[in-house]
Symmetry: C2
Subunit: 347 residues, 2 copies
């Protein structure tokens, strides 16, 4: 690095890409050259970064010549095709799709949890699923202090996790219902699936496609990614993932069982009050607890409603909220890039 790095953002015009650029700018990430890439459809759009106008170009293998750090968030098929091309040309890829997350040669990294796994990179580093990231940030300090046997999570997920078009769908449907007009669901729950359902004033218990075991792919991502990030193949994890009429901010109702006996909810509150990347918001008498509307635009994971189970000495309940576009995607990707610089992996 002399004046910074040549950084490429793939999917620069998407909901996450936009937040990646904003985060790179807010963090003053050292950039000597910025290349903004997208699908053919969005190529030609103008994007402003630090006051300078950039024309978004169609991503091709040649786009990555000279790129040192490539942040991908343009869908799994784009990553599968172009991430290896970027690596071939010397770039380190931070990939925000599910394409390489479970690949055994690809580290899956949340810096607060397993930053050192970056040293094992083979060109590509995977950014976990949004719902997984905020949960492991909240639980890793507990795991380190008291051990972890079991996680059961129910999610309350915002539509922006399905992209900017899904946010438009929520807003348009909501307006139609208020105005007493007809509407036709077109995107949610899964754009590639046959049936579409109303999301406004509704709850849809399907995120991503169903797997043969009855869990959705989103639920299996949470289960498998959590085990991989924490390095605990035998951890018992279960998830129910639900899409809600919220634009941004994922919430999670999390039950855990720790290994150690006699832990109190105050022990866990004390631990999380000083945990990296966590803001503790837990004061019931003052009605203080995390909420998605208050998490928007913030990088931290907010944790509250921590309480011990009434019958299980090792059981605890908590409520975990984060901006799914930031810690769940853009901020975690940029944070990985910052770690790559800090650890001297990219130079």
């Amino acid at each position: 690095m002399v004046n910074g790095f040549h950084v490429a953002v793939v999917g620069a015009t998407g909901a996450v890409g936009e937040q990646m650029l904003k985060t790179l700018q807010d963090r003053d990430f050292p950039i000597s050259k910025l290349t903004l890439l997208s699908s053919k459809r969005s190529a030609g759009k103008i994007v402003v970064f630090k006051g300078e106008e950039f024309t978004v170009q169609e991503a091709t293998p040649e786009s990555f010549e000279g790129v040192q750090i490539a942040l991908f968030s343009a869908g799994g098929s784009v990553s599968k095709e172009l991430a290896p091309e970027a690596v071939k040309r010397g770039a380190i890829v931070v990939d925000n799709t599910s394409a390489f997350r479970m690949d055994e040669n690809t580290p899956l990294v949340v810096p607060e949890v397993n930053e050192k796994a970056l040293f094992d990179y083979n060109g590509i580093i995977a950014n976990p699923n949004c719902s997984t990231i905020q949960m492991v940030v909240a639980l890793e300090p507990v795991r380190q202090a008291y051990g972890l046997k079991k996680i059961i999570v129910s999610t309350y997920q915002a539509v922006s996790g399905a992209g900017a078009a899904a946010v438009d769908e929520l807003m348009n449907q909501t307006k139609a219902i208020i105005d007493g007009k007809e509407f036709t669901p077109e995107i949610l729950p899964v754009s590639a699936d046959e049936k579409k359902y109303q999301i406004a004033f509704n709850a849809i218990p399907q995120i991503d496609k169903f797997q043969d075991n009855g869990f959705t792919f989103e639920e299996m991502k949470m289960i498998n990614e959590t085990k991989k990030i924490m390095g605990m193949e035998d951890l018992s994890v279960a998830a129910t993932c639900v899409r809600l009429p919220i634009a941004t901010g994922h919430s999670e109702s999390v039950f855990i069982e720790v290994e150690k006996e006699g832990v109190t909810s105050n022990d866990i509150k004390t631990l999380l009050a000083s945990a990296p990347g966590v803001t503790l918001q837990d004061n019931p008498s003052e009605q203080e607890y995390p909420m998605p509307a208050h998490s928007v635009g913030k990088n931290d994971v907010f944790v509250g409603r921590i309480r011990k189970d009434l019958t299980d000495d090792k059981g605890f309940h908590m409520w975990v909220v984060s901006d799914n576009l930031l810690k769940g995607a853009a901020w975690n990707s940029v944070q990985i890039a910052e770690s790559l610089v800090k650890l001297g992996i990219v130079k």
Copy 2:
């Protein structure tokens, strides 16, 4: 009964009262005389029942002279004051508030689960909390067939559970956000608590007041009422209750552990397909699962997403949805009244 019973509805102008009248009408409940009562504030309003206009009267002890069945849904303080007065005058009270639910001399009844408890009545019969009712309807057949050790539930609750004014607040806030206007939250999460929060496009992890143990009163209702209705003092129950921007229809992500080994998710599906008051909606390959928007106006409890835990042979996950104003309140109350007639307790 000659031509029917003298029925009083207390809280006739509220969100639940309105549904009680609609349900009495739809079910053609045998009514010889109908007395509609309310607080002083709502007295004088005109309500139409089966084409006939009724003037709502202020509820006083004397209002209950000659009343045989009194359906109460006007808040706990009204029930505490007037339910004993109604009983003194010979009425059987079906009370939809939390005033008498945990009283050991008051049966707490969900007809599909413990209809026979009605024989133990001492004038008052309590209707359980909305979130409790739909859960026990879904779980009782499982408990009877395979035993039940543990329940962990996370709720996705509609604002109509907090009354008609809360629905107005959701709609007005939503419109303000869409129109880019300012607004001030005034009712939710708890009208008697100091702080009010935005509900539109948000999730509030507080329903009812916090208790000293860190659980809310709504969560403790689910825990204690479930044990009482199922007659299982030692059942392990935990709840996290969350208010969402949905007008009507409560959803629940439920984890259970059964006693018996080797039960399959198909066993549970088969059981629930013919369970009383349950509609099974569970076909992932066709994207069939329950959703609140599809439950509105229906009396049944909808169950889907039934799947076995990936590590716990006795663990199962499911998704339970119902119209909180109907099975959660009005329909269960009227159903209790129907049971009282059927069992010859009122005659």
